[in-house]
């Protein structure tokens, strides 16, 4: 044991915060439910949490109340023409007497629905989890690493409270479009309900799919990979103790030949042996 480095729980917390700052991810996907095509783009970042260091032989780094937060940008695309019936206006007959011809009844005009509408909606989410990590030392080529590897844990993302916000946004947008069409004032509320009724059948399935997607994206983070250890401490094997200073003064190194890591007295202790 030629050198010892110890980190308290508070110090380990600071190291963990740096690690978390580097853990973020973005991913997109889309799917269709009947006339509704939904695109969703997820951003996830990690922060916070407090570390508890559990002594050997367990050697567990326990992270309490880690905050997983982010935003999913959702795009609802739908074609009113696929949901609403053909509507021709006016809803009554208009006739006019024309001399030399007779009573002429003017034609109804059937409303072409606008092209598919895309409504963007932002759904923020935030969930706190606790996770345990095992400690190990890895020979990583030119470095020694003290790594963390997560133990399986449960994670549940629930977007169902956002259903109300989604419905409101779609209602407002469709209402605005329908208000541009003359002579259907009395019908607008009814037609908006037709859209919301079509949506209600699939909204919980949509939110469930997006929640699962967020869940899967979070587990793509290295920190939560059950197979990829994440370095908490990295030591270069070759340490430059005196930098080079011209021809008679080449660099003086020491080489860390072996590294050990354990948790003792709630401190993370790394011990190095020099060659």
């Amino acid at each position: 044991m030629d050198a010892t480095i110890a980190v308290s729980e508070g110090g380990a917390n600071q190291l963990m915060q740096k690690l978390l700052a580097g853990e973020s991810i973005s991913k997109s996907d889309s799917a269709s439910w009947g006339p509704f095509t939904v695109g969703y783009n997820v951003n996830v970042a990690l922060s916070g949490g407090t570390i508890e260091l559990v002594d050997a032989p367990l050697n567990i780094v326990r992270l309490h109340n880690l905050n997983i937060a982010g935003n999913v940008g959702v795009f609802f695309t739908f074609d009113l023409g696929q949901i609403l019936p053909k509507i021709c206006i006016p809803p009554f007959q208009v006739c006019v007497d024309i001399p030399f011809i007779g009573t002429v009844c003017t034609p109804q005009v059937c409303i072409p629905w606008p092209p598919p509408i895309t409504i963007p909606i932002n759904l923020p989410f935030s969930v706190n989890v606790s996770a345990d990590f095992g400690l190990s030392v890895k020979d990583a080529g030119s470095n020694w690493e003290v790594d963390l590897l997560v133990f399986p844990f449960s994670l549940f993302i629930d977007l169902s409270p956002m259903a109300g916000a989604i419905i409101n946004q779609i209602e407002t947008t469709v209402d605005g479009i329908l208000n541009g069409i003359p002579l259907i004032g009395g019908l607008i509320a009814w037609l908006v309900n037709m859209v919301l009724g079509a949506l209600s059948g699939v909204l919980s399935a949509i939110l469930s799919t997006i929640s699962s997607f967020i869940h899967d994206v979070i587990l793509l983070l290295d920190l939560f990979s059950p197979t990829i250890p994440v370095p908490l401490l990295t030591f270069a094997k070759t340490q430059a103790m005196l930098p080079a200073g011209g021809p008679p003064d080449p660099e003086v190194d020491i080489t860390i030949a072996a590294l050990g890591a354990t948790i003792n007295d709630h401190e993370l202790v790394a011990t190095a042996d020099f060659a």
Binding site: V94, T106, V109
Partner: protein
Amino acid sequence: MDFLNSQQLTYQDGYLHVFRSPGIYEYRILFLPPGYENSESDTRYTINVGKDGSEAGKGSQHDVVLHWNADQHAYLPDPESVTAQVHDYVLWHVETDTPAAPPYSIRGESDARTVFDSRGMGQHDVLTHMFLLPGEYHYRVNNKAEGVVLVASHKNLPYEVHAERASKAPLVHIAGGIPNPESIEIVTGQTIVWFVEKGEHVTVSLIK
């Protein structure tokens, strides 16, 4: 602003022709301007006009609804053939909610002689247009005399008031190429009816 041009009819328009003589009429649904008839589809539809009609001014209306068929790139009339009597009138209009269907015209012949053509309306032909967008529509008759239709938005009106106004279709007479009245005020959802009281080869188009 709406698209408004009697030479190129859209789903907002209607074209009417009165049949003063009995006989077999055949009409075509065209897309190109006059002179290009030989470049277009030769499909003809029949109107049989019998001689036992009412007197002038008391005929019956026959509606022909044109349905756009995207596969055939054609309007298909319903009914395919019309049976009418003298002094009856046929009103063509498009019933489709396909927004990008192209504008069209109607040209009819009898005994190999052109009898009516919506691209140049004859005496007692009628053009209808339902205005959907508000604005000041300045138009020309035969590229000469000017008229204007002032269209206000329906959004400020209570539904009952709007419906009451929309139940009336104001009539604009065209005689000698001059519209009367030359200025008219309506709200969106109302239809203007231009009646060619006297004239030949009449066109109504927006001034750009």
